[in-house]
């Protein structure tokens, strides 16, 4: 097919589309599209303040280096604590959002907190249960085989990695604990 100024292929018939598809073309005029234009100065937001009141008790709350002050409202969900808190505080205090170490440290903080939480839970009245918490019992009655196989799903190729990622850290931790315990209990000469 030669390349010409015309759009190649079949041009759909608007009347047919209108008949077939509810609401076809209702927002054809950009003026009917709420995201047009992208910025709408003067939009009524419902705010009845020029500057929001400051939420109290923000002392010590971590914030991005790119904020000049603590935001008027902030989340109070899970305050920083322990070693993971220390790591995260370094990320916020020393690196702006444009720097890779900022995000890498936050991810490191996540993993350190996750490991610590699992260990602490073992000494609590409600230890972590990697089976029920993984939701794997949801497979019952929901066609686990038929949903996965014979349907051309491409994620089946790497799905085997998921249980390794879930159970792997527990196995690794068990090996480490076993080795430490053995080292403490059995003299090196008898190992």
């Amino acid at each position: 097919m030669p390349y010409t100024a015309d759009k190649p292929g079949h041009t759909p018939d608007p009347d047919d589309l209108r008949r077939r598809i509810p609401g076809w073309g209702a927002d054809l005029d950009p003026a009917d599209r709420p995201a047009f234009p992208r910025e709408q100065p003067g939009i009524d937001t419902g705010a009845h303040w020029r500057v929001p009141e400051q939420q109290p008790h923000g002392a010590g709350r971590e914030r991005s280096l790119e904020h000049e002050r603590l935001t008027p409202v902030f989340g109070t969900a899970q305050p920083l604590h322990g070693l993971s808190g220390l790591i995260r505080r370094v990320a916020y205090a020393h690196y702006s959002e444009g720097q890779t170490p900022h995000w890498m440290l936050l991810i490191l903080g996540d993993r350190v907190e996750s490991a610590g939480a699992h260990v602490r839970s073992l000494f609590s009245r409600r230890p972590d249960d990697p089976v029920t918490q993984s939701g794997v019992f949801g497979e019952r009655g929901r066609h686990p085989i038929a949903s996965r196989f014979g349907r051309g799903r491409v994620d089946v190729k790497h799905a085997w990695l998921d249980p390794v990622l879930v159970v792997g850290p527990w196995v690794a931790a068990a090996v480490v604990v076993f080795r430490i315990a053995r080292a403490a209990a059995v003299p090196a000469s008898r190992r």
């Binding site: 041009t11 509810p22 709420p34 937001t45 009845h48 929001p52 918490q133 939701g135 051309g152």
Partner: protein
């Protein structure tokens, strides 16, 4: 109160947590009646979003009844049934004053690159989310809206993110009459975007995924042509051939960080967390759109770098438009569309899980079992 809590990658449980309290004069406390799991919650569940803390409660799609309001709240009162946009925003900063609610500068102390979102890690502000019996709703005079009596609860729920985001994504695609639009991803947002493209006057809508049941949904719900990318050798070439060699006028990425279709990219990003997100869908969008075309990015990605084909995008003269949806801006028009019978967002819902069974809900959704498209969380009888 009972709440879903994060216990590390792939692990969640239901815990008893202290009830949320009014922490700012414009806060409200909302008792959640319905919530849902968003595809982007799976990025948190899989440990991909930095600063996701143990004990965090996810959930940015919820409706409920106002239980208590702060001293400066004027527009809501206890007892009101409200739909709450996933954005937390002040309504008065530089960005909010221009309608960019998802980019609010006054609510996310932890980052300036993104606004506030309920239950979406401390990278979006550290606010617990709505997969819980109660939730703190900041700036109650700005975000929530009373649910109109003639709007079904499940329609309202789907407007708090998924459908509004899809509708917004179709607007960012800059569609003119007769355009061909490719939507990558047949999850709830992709399906909503595909359906919305027709409202904008698209001439063809093509949905791409590898889950056959979702492609079937795309045909039934969104009247779309479909392509199973696992059943073609080269998805970009296939799309080029379907568009007579030109490429699509617009492509909407409704997949994001965990895109599949290239094992190395997927594993390095989604499993090993060495990239901010798997760029497969974005790269397919860049390659499949026509020169001078537009890419609308609705898929969520993490803040780290990803291996994106910037050179192709430059050489093809593409326009890439992206944002988290400023949800409340979409509502007046979407409510009109619902009332006119143009759309019924609740048709996306396929599964319901009680809060007590939410771990199973995440697993089924994450594993794409049982024909799941959109799971809703209920709160007892």
């Amino acid at each position: 109160m009972k709440a879903m809590t994060y216990r590390g990658p792939y692990k969640i449980r239901v815990d008893r947590k202290p009830d949320p309290v009014i922490a700012h004069p414009n806060d409200a406390i909302v008792r959640v009646e319905l919530a849902s799991i968003c595809g982007s919650d799976l990025h948190l569940y899989h440990g991909m979003m930095p600063d996701t803390r143990i004990g965090h409660t996810f959930g940015h799609e919820f409706i409920g009844r106002v239980e208590e309001v702060g001293s400066s709240v004027q527009n809501l009162k206890p007892g009101d049934r409200v739909m709450v946009p996933f954005n937390i925003y002040c309504g008065s900063c530089f960005f909010c004053a221009r309608g960019l609610y998802s980019n609010c500068h006054n609510v996310n102390a932890n980052a300036t690159a993104i606004g506030g979102i309920y239950g979406y890690s401390h990278s979006t502000g550290g606010f617990d989310g709505g997969q819980a019996e109660l939730v703190r709703v900041p700036f109650a005079d700005v975000g929530p809206q009373v649910i109109p009596d003639d709007i079904a609860s499940e329609d309202a729920l789907l407007l708090t993110d998924a459908f509004s985001t899809g509708y917004f994504g179709s607007q960012l695609a800059d569609i003119v009459e007769g355009d061909t639009v490719v939507v990558l991803g047949a999850g709830p947002v992709g399906l909503a975007a595909a359906r919305s493209c027709w409202l904008m006057g698209a001439g063809r809508v093509i949905v791409v995924d590898h889950l056959d049941y979702r492609l079937e949904k795309a045909r039934a719900f969104a009247f779309a042509e479909t392509v199973h990318f696992g059943q073609v050798d080269d998805i970009v070439l296939t799309l080029k051939k379907m568009t007579d060699g030109l490429g699509a006028d617009s492509v909407i990425d409704a997949v994001g960080a965990e895109a599949d279709g290239h094992v190395v990219q997927h594993v390095t990003a989604a499993k090993l967390k060495l990239q901010g997100g798997s760029p497969i869908a974005l790269n397919w969008a860049i390659d499949a759109v026509r020169k001078g075309g537009t890419i609308s990015v609705m898929g969520a990605y993490g803040p780290l770098f990803s291996a994106v084909k910037v050179g192709d995008a430059m050489n093809k003269g593409l326009t890439i438009r992206a944002n988290q949806a400023p949800v409340k801006r979409q509502w007046p028009r979407l409510l009109e569309h619902i009332r006119a019978g143009h759309i019924a967002p609740r048709e996306l819902i396929t599964h319901r899980f009680d809060l007590d069974d939410i771990a199973e809900g995440y697993h089924v959704f994450s594993s794409k079992l049982d024909g799941i498209v959109k799971p809703v969380i209920t709160f007892g009888a």
